[in-house]
């Protein structure tokens, strides 16, 4: 009989959005959405903390074989890793709230410092890649939609799948082989050559985003150097996402091309080109903004691989260095840092989506 009573239980799920929409308002949406960041970060921090502690304390992992047992035990005791784990957990949470992400074991640097040192490089790479992805994905998606089911469409769809199917490090390898080794047009790896780095080092308060710094230094050789280093990594990482954008734009433009207002435009004699670029294209862009949020998470994962491939000294590259050194405090710190970045980006993207499309707000 209890099962009968359970039936109305379905209702709360259906009712919940309604009761929220009664509150309405963009301001309210932003506040609610902002507070949703906290549980997300909290869960990931908890998950990562306990997972990383399952394998034992970080000091043994990093320096296990190299130190005599009594020194090791003393170090573990000093760092407090011999206390009950739940105690350590709450202490860790307390540190995070005050912005302390821990100190690396191998080179004793605060993890937060890494954000300021290497964060800019990762940001630059992600922005460059996003530009490539949008510049490739959106126009090609529109072409594919307009030439639906023709050879062009088939070709572009295969291209999109190929983009997705190629791991960043393989496309990176091919790009390196072609443009750096055989053609010799572009540098093999790194963010900048040493000479340019010195030029830019003289700037007051460098932003760390090299093309910005190079622009400010007013040295066009430096700018050229920075750009030539940035091209291949941006393409390698950008193509990965370009495929997703291409498919998304294609599907959505096909959808809007069937709408009545597009038909009305066609009957008025608006050209097919204009129909696609003006009429059908804009409404199709809204889902792109939503997906971009998810893509940024994907790109940060891809950035780890891209940075390793091109020795691009950003957060991902650093993460791999610490992984190989078995410095798990640093790994945990960077992973949590990236989790915070992803959560905040998703928040921003959701707010932007709500600004553009009122239907998103609930």
């Amino acid at each position: 009989m209890t099962t009968l009573i359970e039936v109305p239980d379905v209702e709360p799920d259906a009712v919940a959005p309604k009761s929220k929409s009664a509150g309405g308002g963009l301001g309210r949406y932003i506040v609610v959405r902002f507070f949703l960041i906290i549980p997300t970060i909290f869960i990931l921090v908890t998950l990562v903390f306990f997972l990383m502690r399952v394998i034992g304390d970080p000091i043994t992992a990093a320096q296990g074989g190299r130190l005599p047992p009594d020194v090791l035990a003393q170090r573990i005791h000093d760092a407090g890793y011999d206390r009950p784990i739940i105690f350590q957990y709450f202490e860790y949470l307390g540190q995070l709230v005050t912005g302390n992400f821990g100190t690396t074991i191998t080179d004793r640097r605060p993890v937060v410092e890494m954000l300021s040192t290497f964060g800019a490089a990762t940001l630059e790479l992600t922005i460059n890649a996003l530009i490539v992805a949008l510049a490739v994905g959106i126009p090609l998606g529109m072409i594919a939609a307009q030439r639906r089911d023709k050879a062009t469409d088939a070709f572009l769809r295969c291209f999109a799948i190929l983009c997705y199917a190629t791991p960043v490090f393989f496309s990176g390898l091919l790009l390196k082989l072609t443009f750096s080794v055989w053609l010799g047009w572009l540098p093999v790896a790194g963010r900048v050559s040493t000479r340019t780095e010195l030029t830019m080092g003289q700037l007051a308060a460098p932003s760390g985003i090299y093309w910005l710094d190079a622009l400010r230094s007013g040295d066009f050789n430096a700018l050229g150097d920075v750009v030539s280093h940035a091209v291949l990594p941006a393409i390698a990482l950008g193509l990965l996402t370009a495929g997703v954008f291409l498919r998304l734009v294609r599907t959505n433009v096909i959808g809007t091309l069937g709408k009545d207002y597009v038909e009305a435009g066609r009957s008025r004699g608006v050209s097919e080109f204009r129909l696609v670029t003006k009429h059908a294209y804009k409404p199709a862009l809204i889902p792109i903004i939503t997906v971009m949020g998810l893509q940024i998470a994907l790109m940060l994962g891809g950035a780890v691989l891209t940075e390793t491939t091109f020795e691009w000294k950003g957060l991902g590259y650093q993460l791999v260095q610490y992984l190989n050194a078995r410095d798990f405090v640093a790994v945990q710190g960077i992973v949590v840092l990236l989790a915070v970045i992803v959560a905040i980006t998703n928040f921003v993207v959701d707010v932007v989506a709500a600004l553009i499309d009122p239907r998103v707000r609930y």
């Binding site: 490090f169 093999v188 994907l298």
Partner: protein, 339 residues
Amino acid sequence: MSTATISGRKKSFLSGLPVISHVNKSVGLQRGMLITGLVLTGLFLLSTVLAPFIAPYGYSQLSDASGSFPTQEAPSSKHLLGTTVGGYDVLSRVLWGSQTAVTVIVVAVAMSIFLGVALGLLSGYFGGWLDRVLVVIADAIYAFPSLLLAIVMSIVISRGQSSFWGGILACAFSITVVFVPQYFRVIRAETIRLKAEPFVESAMVLGASSLRIITRHIFKNATRTLPLMFTLNASEAILTLAGLGFLGFGIEPSSAAEWGFDLNKAMADASSGIWWTGVFPGIAIVLTVLGLTLVGESINDLNDPRLRGRKRAGGKASRAKAAAGTPQPETGSPEAGKA
């Protein structure tokens, strides 16, 4: 996704089988894409089965009767695809690599389906606090870069072990953690929808136990999309495996062949113009993922009447009419979000 059952009004047993019915249903380019995918996937599986017979050497073989293999040797008649910096035969490692890939995919996807489906059914059916907690956790994991999660998991599981099964299980578990939220979401949503269906309600009225309702009534209906997700996730699993291998979390070259690991080693070769060590394992990854994705996508499109290519009979008019049944904007499909 319901067309599979509709078209399954059995003409013959053979044409009722999922993939074959899809081939019959497809036309033109779509058929081409599906068949290309099937051929590539077939080749991949074939090389898995035949690796011990067609690979010229073992995956960790460094020498034969005529002495040890040269290192970084260009493709020749003795080593068709050359040798690596460690002196392994590239062709053999590419072929053996498919075995590793298949093992990891099967273990990872089987585990994630099992966990994801079980949690999704329970969470969707019973609701309440369990549901809330699981949804929040799944969402948190889903939003996180999957590769980072896989890295953390593989540290936890392998602790630097790299035996064949140790490495395989570490990779498989890491991938499982990434996939479970996806299955969980899909199955939970379906379960909630099905729970409101009359046939479930009538089963409740008849006094069927929750266990019976879940296993008999909901399970079969909620899991129809799984084969499709399997194909799409299999390709994602290969990419994650390769990514882990590339970062050095793969399996040691002496215990199994792994494409990502080989690519990692090949990175340094590329700068000096040695292309064969990296290009071939890379092509193997691309072709495998391409094949699986083509199959998955084609089946997805064929199952959706709005996306299915139409036979030419109606010409343009029928296309315009069909397009009016606007496809839903594709925003958050699992395969679009992650890779």
